[in-house]
């Protein structure tokens, strides 16, 4: 503050001196700029709690469906939705800390635990997409046509072909680990790469290395035109990815916007949403990316 008053005093002192003019102009514009900014920043939090924080997973955001639904809800309700797309693990953690009002996640075991511990009140699955196993066309592990995913994974392990894992403890990664467990094999580091990144990055790495990977169908479809990898296995119930909505328990954290969350919850389960979900992707890929489960 000293600086500012001194600046101003100096400017006034030198108001008409010609060679100070440029410096003055610069200094004034800087001041105006800073003042303007502090003004702009103080539009602030009057009439709070028109904001809902949704913690969700990148896989939902990456398809673009999230933006569509959020935009629809905001328009209808007047609420502002802050949709934070992170890994499922982080999304659950945000809920557990009361940093989110509503969760849209896909890790059923964790979700049940979450509700059981009292962090969530309402939980319902409402839609699903599915995972596919991608691999090079020549299918060196010969998994095409196996009867279930467990068998497929065993063959990958036996053939010791390269497999790229997300390795980021996301819902997809957890799912993949469960699949390995079910197959009864522990993948060896020699051919199992954990890259710690998102789905698209994982698919791209696998594509570059001509390796196998587990991918959700929507990511596969949106990347398809760039990929040499093809779907080598799909359709097993174990590969279904079921999304749930959970309302974070407002009794644990008074700051939670329970009313808004409830309204959004209802909107996401509405008939309108159902239509949007079932049509989403039809125009671009010729098939929907998600399937409606609710009721």
């Amino acid at each position: 503050m000293m600086l500012r008053t001194d600046c101003i005093r100096w400017l006034i002192l030198n108001y008409k001196s010609k060679e100070i003019a440029l410096r003055k102009k610069l200094a004034v514009s800087l001041l105006v700029f800073l003042l303007g900014v502090s003004q702009a920043l103080s539009f602030s939090f009057a009439g709070e709690n028109k904001t809902i924080i949704l913690a969700t997973t990148t896989s939902v955001q990456d398809t673009g469906l999230l933006d569509l639904l959020v935009a629809g809800f905001q328009k209808k309700s007047g609420y502002t939705v802050k949709a934070i797309a992170v890994g499922t693990g982080q999304a659950m953690q945000l809920g557990q800390n009361g940093e989110a009002d509503i969760l849209w996640v896909h890790s059923p075991a964790d979700e049940r635990q979450f509700v059981k511990e009292g962090y969530g009140t309402a939980r319902t699955t409402f839609m699903h997409n599915d995972f596919v196993v991608l691999g090079p066309k020549n299918d060196p592990a010969k998994i095409k046509g196996v009867k279930n995913i467990a068998e497929g994974f065993r063959r990958i392990a036996t053939a010791k072909v390269l497999f790229v894992s997300r390795g980021d403890n996301s819902g997809t990664h957890k799912k993949e680990k469960k699949l390995w467990q079910a197959a009864g094999v522990t993948p060896d580091k020699e051919y199992y790469i954990e890259i710690g990144q998102g789905m698209a990055a994982t698919v791209n790495v696998a594509n570059e290395k001509l390796a196998y990977c587990l991918a959700d169908r929507s990511t596969y479809l949106s990347l398809k035109k760039l990929l040499e990898l093809v779907i080598l296995f799909e359709g097993d119930e174990a590969l279904f990815n079921r999304y749930s909505l959970i309302l974070v328990n407002p009794e644990k954290y008074p700051k939670i916007n329970a009313a808004g969350a409830k309204e959004f919850f209802a909107y996401l389960l509405s008939e309108d949403t159902k239509n949007m979900v079932e049509n989403y992707g039809q125009d671009k890929f010729g098939q929907p990316l998600f399937y409606w489960d609710y009721k």
């Binding site: 001194d6 600046c7 920043l41 802050k82 949709a83 949106s222």
Partner: protein, 231 residues
């Protein structure tokens, strides 16, 4: 190979037909980074000069600390700022998480040490006799500082450019603190990440090019202001 070319072609098309969404992203990127740079300047220049000119007890330690924080990983800043801004965190009452304000806060924390450190170095590089000379000419302390700044404007400009560059191109912290929310906190870098994840490499390339062009224009403007009057 072909899709890189196709990507660039589409990117150029997008740049020449900017839609409202991309314009909003550009506006926010510039707003956030410029405001953050402005604040980092407002903090960094006086702070750097004070540390350069004053002698106090833990001075060397402070300088070492600033030099270290110049290389602070943005994601760490993002994490710390998020933890503080969580609504149940110490600064939760501000309601700044997932807002432009929060992003500005994180970027100020990233850019301030850079500008402070570089300002410190350039003020230290000034012959102490210059300061004495200016005082001898009858300048008060602030006038002297302004004149010294004017003398080292090239290095100070470099400091500002470095500060701005470090945050306009930064992705980790704004992703964490801002949340990459469409229409609210989505900036060029986080949008690029998102489009990449979605497999829309053409849009990602377009955003990257726009980011590059913006950085270039801002830097060019700063350089022109600098070189305009006198070498």
């Amino acid at each position: 190979m072909l899709y890189i070319f196709a990507g660039f072609k589409k990117a150029l098309f997008l740049i020449f037909h900017l839609n409202a969404e991309i314009l909003e992203i550009i506006r926010l990127s510039l707003l956030v980074s410029m405001v953050a740079t402005g604040m980092a300047i407002a903090i960094g220049l006086p702070l750097g000069s004070i540390i350069a000119l004053k002698r106090f007890r833990w001075r060397k330690l402070v300088i070492a600390l600033i030099n270290t924080t110049m290389g602070l990983p943005p994601v760490v800043v993002g994490l710390m700022v998020s933890l503080f801004l969580f609504r149940n965190g110490p600064l939760g009452f501000l309601g700044w998480l997932y807002t432009a304000k929060g992003m500005i806060l994180a970027q100020v924390i990233i850019a301030t040490p850079i500008i402070t450190g570089l300002c410190l170095a350039s003020v230290q590089s000034v012959d102490p006799k210059l300061y004495q000379q200016v005082i001898a000419l009858g300048a008060n302390r602030w006038q002297a500082l302004l004149i010294v700044f004017k003398e080292i404007k090239l290095s100070l400009l470099a400091a500002i450019v470095a500060g701005f560059g470090s945050i306009i191109s930064e992705v980790g912290a704004v992703m964490m603190v801002g949340g990459n929310i469409k229409g609210q906190t989505r900036v060029l870098t986080t949008a690029t990440v998102l489009e990449t994840n979605m497999g829309n490499f053409d849009v990602a390339i377009a955003l990257g090019l726009i980011l590059f062009l913006l950085s270039f224009m801002v830097n060019a403007a700063l350089t022109l202001i600098q070189q305009k009057k006198y070498d």
